[in-house]
Amino acid sequence: MTQPLVDRHDVELAALAAAGGRREFGELVRRHGSAVRALLRRMGAQSSLADDIAQDAFIQAFQRCGEFRGEGTFAAWVKRIAARLYIKRVAKESRYVAEIETEDAAPVTDHAGLVDLDEALKALSEPERLCVSLCHGAGMAHPEIASALNLPLGTVKSHVKRGLDKLRARLQPEPAQSLGRTQHVG
């Protein structure tokens, strides 16, 4: 009896997808689509652009599924593909050069008093937001980000540091309130 797709591990589904299994790959998209889309939005992409790039990333992931060895999570692997596609787009438009001035604001929580990362990220300049998302969202190392963005390593480090400082100032989480109302897709 065939095991239902929902019960299968990502690595197993990826192996089947590498052999041409579109249904198996569809299950992976169902599991991780929102995570990839959310990352792209957090990096600064508009919703429609984020969705287009996320689709491209999954198509590319399907074509390259044989390269996924299960060393990290499948979600992290696709996120990196998506991040690199977005960087290419950003580099083309030279958008990361433009700084967006933001004003200081009150700590960001949603109606339930929970930490809202998406709102807090709006306080960061575009390069800070991009670098922080690449580092903490896509799991890229500083030198990797510097190389991908064609920026000096020191600049990337300072973008990440300043971005985290701003996030810390805005999030100020209460331990009991943090990390609710979200779905882990790891």
Partner: protein, 139 residues
């Protein structure tokens, strides 16, 4: 919260994704694009197989393709001439390519028509087999 505590905290926030109401639609779109891409590949391979088959039949039988009715003979001749012209074009392109990589002495013109036919047929059979395998994996 110290920096040592804050970095993992931010990573955990990034790892948690709000549920998106149109997640099913997104998945459907990706699946649709995958299916479309697969269909285009299948059609391209099928078309290549059909053209290859037509060339093979024509070369094997060494006759003009007769489309059935007498009126079709003109069309058959035209198709035959078209195929012949395409074959010559391909041959000259391949020859040019070989010259570019220093294999100009390998003259395809010196090969017999049947040799070229069998080489072309072999390539097309491999392409068609790959197409069938791909299709069988996807069904």
């Amino acid at each position: 919260m110290s920096a040592d505590e804050f970095d993992p905290f931010v990573e955990r926030l990034f790892a948690r994704t709000p549920a998106m109401p149109d997640a099913a639609l997104f998945t459907a779109r990706v699946e649709q694009r995958l299916q479309k891409g697969s269909r285009v590949r299948f059609l391209a391979l099928s078309l290549a197989g059909l053209i290859g088959g037509a060339v093979a039949v024509r070369e094997t039988m060494n006759v003009d393709i007769d489309l059935g009715a007498r009126d079709g003979v003109v069309a058959g001749d035209a198709l035959g001439q078209g195929i012949q012209s395409a074959s010559l074009n391909i041959q000259s392109s391949v020859q040019y390519g070989l010259e570019q990589v220093g294999l100009a002495n390998l003259e395809l013109g010196s090969m017999g028509g049947m040799q070229l036919f069998w080489i072309a047929a072999g390539v097309l059979i491999v392409a068609a087999a790959a197409g069938v395998m791909k299709l069988s994996q996807e069904v």
